[in-house]
């Protein structure tokens, strides 16, 4: 089973109107090369699920700048003024989600759960229109789980099976996103033959394809 693909093959896995989860936190741990390729392919009307809006010229911000994003689901857009502008001009829908809720909704999506109960957002606009459930005297918001068509991740070390490690704070949303989408593509900073099983952070069963950074960068 060969999971290795060339960067140009990314076009075979994308289509207009699809939803894509992108790993990274303020573009740290974002697979920039895959984002650049998405810009090149110019696939449109995307729903992007990412911790934040990146920067105008970095991370998922590049897709926003290129007008490819119809809807952004994120916890923070403050470092990308373009995202705020498009949002207030009604040119891009932005759903702001508390960061912990976003992480847990994605985790739940990959773990076969229908949703989560979180106290975060109680008494704020976040609870508007949502079901509130009381358990033992404490209120929780029922938040549905989250899934998507594709995940684009950045692994610092990936073996040929797809076992993945993320170095330092590049890990962030990558491991949960690996579990919650129909198709998962990881950009490998370094591709290795094998990995110490104790060091695997995302088991290879979650990874569908690998793009090697040095071969394509």
């Amino acid at each position: 089973m060969n999971k290795l693909i060339k960067l140009e093959q990314l076009k075979d896995f994308v289509f207009d109107g699809m939803s894509i989860m992108v790993g990274g936190f303020m573009a740290v741990g974002t697979p920039e090369l895959l984002i650049d390729e998405l810009v090149k392919i110019n696939v449109r009307d995307l729903t992007i699920i990412c911790n934040d809006a990146g920067f105008i010229d970095k991370g998922v911000g590049k897709l926003i700048t290129n007008g490819q994003v119809k809807k952004l689901v994120a916890s923070h857009i403050g470092l990308n003024p373009m995202a705020g502008q498009l949002m207030s001009d009604d040119k891009m829908e932005v759903l702001l989600v508390p960061q912990g809720t976003l992480a847990e909704q994605i985790r739940a999506g990959g773990a076969g759960l229908g949703g989560i109960l979180t106290p975060t957002g109680i008494g704020t606009v976040v609870e508007n229109g949502k079901k509130i459930i009381s358990l033992e005297g404490k209120k929780y918001i029922l938040e549905p789980s989250m899934k998507a068509d594709l995940a684009l991740l950045y692994g610092s070390k990936v073996d040929k099976f797809g076992n993945t490690q993320y170095t330092k704070t590049t890990r962030n949303f990558n491991p949960v996103m690996a579990t919650a989408t129909k198709h998962v593509i990881v950009l490998a900073r370094k591709l290795v033959d094998e990995m110490n099983p104790d060091h695997v952070l995302t088991p290879h069963i979650f990874i569908d394809n690998i793009v090697e950074e040095v071969q394509n960068g």
Binding site: M87, L96, P98, G100, T124, S156, T169, N172
Partner: protein, 219 residues
């Protein structure tokens, strides 16, 4: 006090709230300064919600590692014993009550301990990031902020901006004083002797319960 002295003064006072072994999350801006004033006889562990505990000082330019950043995306360092984790684990730590203290700035706070610091509708819409989870989950929520905004009160009877969380704030530290949030309201427990108590009251829209407040130690 100039602006820098004022911020350091607030940060220094906040740092006195920590206990040995505390897991602490410091927000961006003024709260980050608190890390510079941790008493040397205790050890605390700084958590950064993007996925680490053991946050160290900013690196010198030649030591920058772009794979190690804080929640503001700025390069940081990891102290011995520090470690990394994913976002779901990070917010499990936060919501699960494993963070002892979170220190944040705020635009507004009110008599019930509700705070607003994530949006000014029509003006600034950065998003809540991890702030809602932090103030909901941390055992103790400390606001480190200037007492007023260009002369306008920030400590109000009731917040007018969209809330970050309801009734979660425990302590408010400003350049004018230290205010404890209790069930019966806001208690002025310390005041900066550079001001009179009347001046503190005037700069505060909320009702302050005053019962022999101590003078804030200047050093």
């Amino acid at each position: 006090m100039d602006k820098k002295e004022l911020k350091n003064f607030i940060a220094k006072r906040v740092a006195k709230e920590f206990n040995d072994g505390d897991v602490v999350n410091l927000g961006i801006g003024l709260p980050t300064l608190v890390g510079n004033f941790v008493p040397t006889n205790i050890q605390i562990f700084l958590q950064s919600e993007n996925g680490l505990i053991g946050l160290g000082p900013a690196p010198t330019e030649d030591k920058v590692d772009n794979d190690i950043t804080n929640a503001g995306g700025q390069p940081v360092t990891l102290l011995p014993g520090g470690m990394y984790f994913d976002s779901a684990t990070s917010f499990g730590i936060i919501r699960g009550g494993h963070v002892d203290v979170t220190v944040l700035g705020s635009l507004q706070v009110d008599e019930s301990g509700s705070l607003a610091n994530w949006i000014i509708p029509g003006k600034m819409v950065p998003g809540m990031g991890g702030a809602m989870d932090l103030v909901t989950g941390a055992k103790k929520v400390i606001l480190a902020m200037t007492h007023t905004n260009r002369g306008r009160a920030k400590i109000l009877k009731e917040c007018t901006l969209p809330l970050t969380a309801k009734k979660q704030v425990n302590l408010i530290v400003t350049e004018m004083g230290v205010i404890e949030v209790k069930d019966d309201g806001l208690h002025l427990v310390e005041y900066n002797p550079e001001f009179t108590i009347e001046e503190v009251v005037t700069a505060t829209e909320a009702t302050l319960i005053i019962n022999n407040p101590k003078k804030m130690e200047m050093e």
